[in-house]
């Protein structure tokens, strides 16, 4: 068990196998190469992507299908290689391949970046931000959270 300082929860315990490597970081944060996913039932469907290197950096995300139930994407061979997925076959979103969308909140405006999903190959614990050039998905897809998405 390791401990890390975090943006929202102070010192947080995590197990080594919950660390996800981002070999290339993500655009704008290339030096951030390790994140932990923090999920909790009471905050479902929110997912937090907490950087291990920078406690103040914690992205807010949603599983992409929460925002867009029929979300489809195709990663390039290079992307699959970064994730340690052999061959050219991309597994579907599911237990082995998590697909999250980063959320941007400004006042009452909430948008999800569907153009560039965070894709995590769960068995390898590797992640990257895939950029789906040539698709119609927006990097600022407006979403409406229902009042009080969090129930305690």
């Amino acid at each position: 068990m390791a401990t890390s300082e975090t943006k929202y929860w102070g010192l947080l315990d995590y197990t080594e196998d919950s660390v996800i490597d981002f070999p290339a970081g993500i655009p704008g944060f290339e030096q951030e190469q390790q994140f932990i996913l923090v999920e909790q039932q009471a905050l479902d469907p929110l997912v937090f992507l907490q950087s291990l290197a920078t406690p103040a950096l914690c992205f807010l995300a949603l599983h992409v299908r929460v925002v867009c139930p029929d979300y489809k994407f195709r990663m390039s061979e290079e992307d699959l290689e970064v994730l340690g997925i052999p061959g050219t076959r991309q597994p579907p979103i599911g237990p082995d391949l998590a697909c999250l969308t980063l959320i941007h909140i400004e006042e009452k405006d909430i948008t999800a970046n569907l153009l560039a999903p965070i894709v995590i190959h769960v068995p390898a614990r590797r992640g990257m931000q895939a950029i789906l050039a040539g698709t119609d998905y927006s990097h600022q897809h407006r979403i409406d959270l229902v009042e009080a998405p969090v129930c305690v």
Partner: protein, 89 residues
Amino acid sequence: MLMMKRRAGESILIGDDIEIHLAHIGRTRVKIGISAPRNIPVVAKEVKLVRDQNRAAASSHLAGTLARLVARVVPNKVQGRTPAADERQ
């Protein structure tokens, strides 16, 4: 926006130092060579969009109630978890 017609193998100059060379034209994609001074960043437009969006997202502030709720609900219980751990529950 200035529109120009060029064939494969031809080039366009922007100022004195930037050259855009149309190396290959396929059915749906174009291969472009770009020569530019080191201090001029060259990236695909989507990369810049995503970078800017990530920076904005990183400084997103959770609205008051949600921020308090996050801080209140989570301590003691939270573990970093992989999606796989989640699926199994």
